[in-house]
Symmetry: C2
Subunit: 417 residues, 2 copies
């Protein structure tokens, strides 16, 4: 470790919180304590309040001494959902990154860890390049996190398995509710550009069901993701076919579904006046897409002078990413990527993005390992669902079941008459 810089380390959390992002925080702290801090290369370990805001403002009050936290408390924090340091939606531009670097210099930070999505990887990349250009030795590590599961170079990302578990469990219970009273039920799931999370609803079926006829699949009968163009006419035909045969229909739909021109469906369904005080359309944290689809279905499926079918829409919202009970695989991997980042630093890596690689599949033999990628390989890019995970316009493939099932963990087994 002789040629490693000596100084302080800082850790931050960015973007939408997840149920396991604090595991990653604990992992970095733990890794540093046993590595660079033990060897004297890292003096103090700070946490940035609200991501890079906490260092860019240059106030010491925005830095928390994480090294002083007793192990037992750190362990409890690790098992707590959401970002304990606070998070931020800031996407630093060039000038903002200058301030981050300045903050690092002021506090003698030599190791910079940022837990987040592709924007966070990009921040690491820019700050890293700026530091190099100015001759200040700073090693930047990106630790992956996103429920959307849309980071390149990763088999999947911490936060996704727990969110997928929530979505699966929700569809399992909701499918029975839908069967109990009948009618059409729409569930809107997070994921603006990638459909992995909406697709995980299919796991509620309990088996790799891939019948081409949606009415022959267990619920959810229909699954729509942003990767496949959403055609309203076909959608209404799909729903009508299932409802006519079964008297019910459960539909899982990504908030980011878009038409053949790539335009999001949500804003197109908004009713007059459904914009905020500034004329902005807001999709997340509102029931607009689900309610809009419900309206379309009612209009299309109500016979002239006849009775409207029962149509309901739930928008799962933030519970997907903050539910207190997580996927055990997710908790373990989120911890591991944090540790791995600290280990990379101890091994002299000049800066990297930690990745998750799947080394063995299937429920009972699933294994993963951490890997490294260059920051530029992960920064900014968005990963989409590969074509092999999709089946037709409204379903997932057997390959997706194989991919997703080991991640969500054991599911309850329900009884039938």
């Amino acid at each position: 470790m002789a040629d490693l810089p000596t100084g302080d380390a800082v850790i931050g959390q960015s973007g939408g919180p997840t149920a396991v992002i604090n595991q990653s925080l604990a992992g970095v702290v733990e890794g540093l304590m046993q590595g660079l801090a033990a060897s004297g290369k890292v003096k103090r370990i700070f946490g940035m309040r609200h991501g890079v805001r906490g260092i860019a403002k240059g106030r010491s009050s925005d830095l928390v001494d994480l090294g002083a936290i007793p192990v037992a408390r750190l362990e409890r924090i690790a098992g707590t959902p959401s970002a304990v340091l606070g998070s931020t939606r800031d996407k630093p531009d060039d000038a903002y990154c200058d301030k981050i670097l300045e903050g690092c210099r002021d506090h003698d930070i030599r190791y910079f860890f940022y837990i987040g999505g592709n924007d966070s990887a990009d921040t690491c990349r820019i700050v890293s390049e700026k530091a190099r250009a100015s001759g200040y030795e700073l090693r930047c590590f990106h630790v992956p996190k996103t429920i959307d599961n849309d980071l390149r170079e990763n088999d999947h990302t911490p936060g996704f398995p727990s969110a997928a578990r929530f979505v699966t469990l929700a569809h399992m219970g909701d499918a029975l509710d839908n069967a109990g009273l009948g009618g059409i039920k729409i569930n809107v799931i997070m994921g603006r550009h990638a459909g992995f999370l909406a697709a995980s609803a299919a796991l509620a079926r309990g088996a790799r069901e891939t019948d081409a006829d949606p009415a022959k699949r267990p619920a959810p009968h229909l699954v729509y993701v942003p990767e496949t163009p959403f055609l309203m006419d076909k959608f209404l035909t799909d729903v009508e076919a299932v409802y006519t045969k079964l008297g019910r229909c459960q539909i899982a739909v990504s908030e980011g579904i878009s038409d053949a021109d790539g335009k999001e469906i949500g804003p197109q369904l908004m009713r007059t006046g459904e914009v905020d005080a500034h004329g902005n359309i807001q999709l997340s944290g509102s029931g607009a897409l689900g309610d809009g689809l419900a309206d379309r279905i009612k209009t299309a499926l109500t016979p002239k002078g006849g009775k409207s079918p029962r149509v309901r829409a739930d928008t799962f919202g933030y519970l997907q990413r903050c539910w207190p009970y997580v996927s055990p695989v997710d908790a373990e991997e989120a911890r591991a990527v944090g540790r791995f980042a600290a280990d990379l630093a101890a091994k002299g890596d000049a800066g990297a993005s930690v990745t998750i690689v799947r080394t063995s599949n299937a429920l009972d033999s699933y294994r993963s390992a951490c890997g490294r990628a260059d920051l530029s390989a992960v920064a900014r890019h968005t990963r989409h669902m590969p074509a092999e995970f999709l089946a037709g316009r409204n379903n997932v493939s057997p390959a997706f079941y194989d991919y997703c099932q080991p991640l969500v963990g054991d599911l309850p087994e329900f009884g039938k008459l």
Copy 2:
């Protein structure tokens, strides 16, 4: 048991399903098997498909032989959310009840068990009176169920504790999410006329917090129930006060909040065109109330030419009543009320509504027992939150914490910096 009628028994499930209504079904079956069926008074035990529809139509195909289900499968069904027999929203009128009685006669039903809310109790009452008037011996028992917790004569009702557990856990996680990114978060909770379920959000605070200043309470900072008139001006002032002090605010609100004239707030906030194909306003299964409140807050809290605060609304929807993991107390009690109904029948009771009585309180000494009430005491009436459970316009009292905490079960303990 000599003077008890001999014949068949029928069991039905009605209204909105819950996570434990199948426990009650299993309880009735179990109780009958060990009681009236063992003694030969009950020949067969039928389940009605979709509540009273299953008997009123008079088709044998709508009756399921529950006595033929192996014990292990019945046990698995008991642990499965939603109504395994199917449910119904039908509220039988006089003519409908004639058909129910006719169906009972046709199938030689002598014992009628109906699991549901106050409408189901009323159905039992009417059918019971009609049977007596016509000289047909039929004993009707109402088994309580409702997540709204609004049945008279009951300390609480099966289904409520599990729904309250979901709402509490949701607020625990969501409060941390709100703290992580800041802003204002509204959560809309089921309960059209009774606020028990929305009130259970307060348990997320982890302690009996009753500070008169909402900003000094842990989240949820504000709790609004239908029992207290919802005054929009006061609401906006409350939210602004918390947001100004903390930079965030978590709000729990019943879907049924109403103004001083008793008019529901939801429909008043609907935007132009926000009605279904038939001009009906729909509140449940839509995000209308939450989105409407969010709009109002944004409009009120955005300074002229300034930035709008981050405001999000989640409508928890059907997950509240169908989440697969339940409150253990709820599962046990839901089973017990079913068994108790069968036991009442075996003891010669001519018909009754089963109730839950609390015999001992506090988390570690909580105990309950089943009781009986006349059908007419429970039928139709709605129970509201007593004044002693409320504190001011936007909070619950210590008495409510004491009431609700033993019901939801153990909660995860979170870590803090």
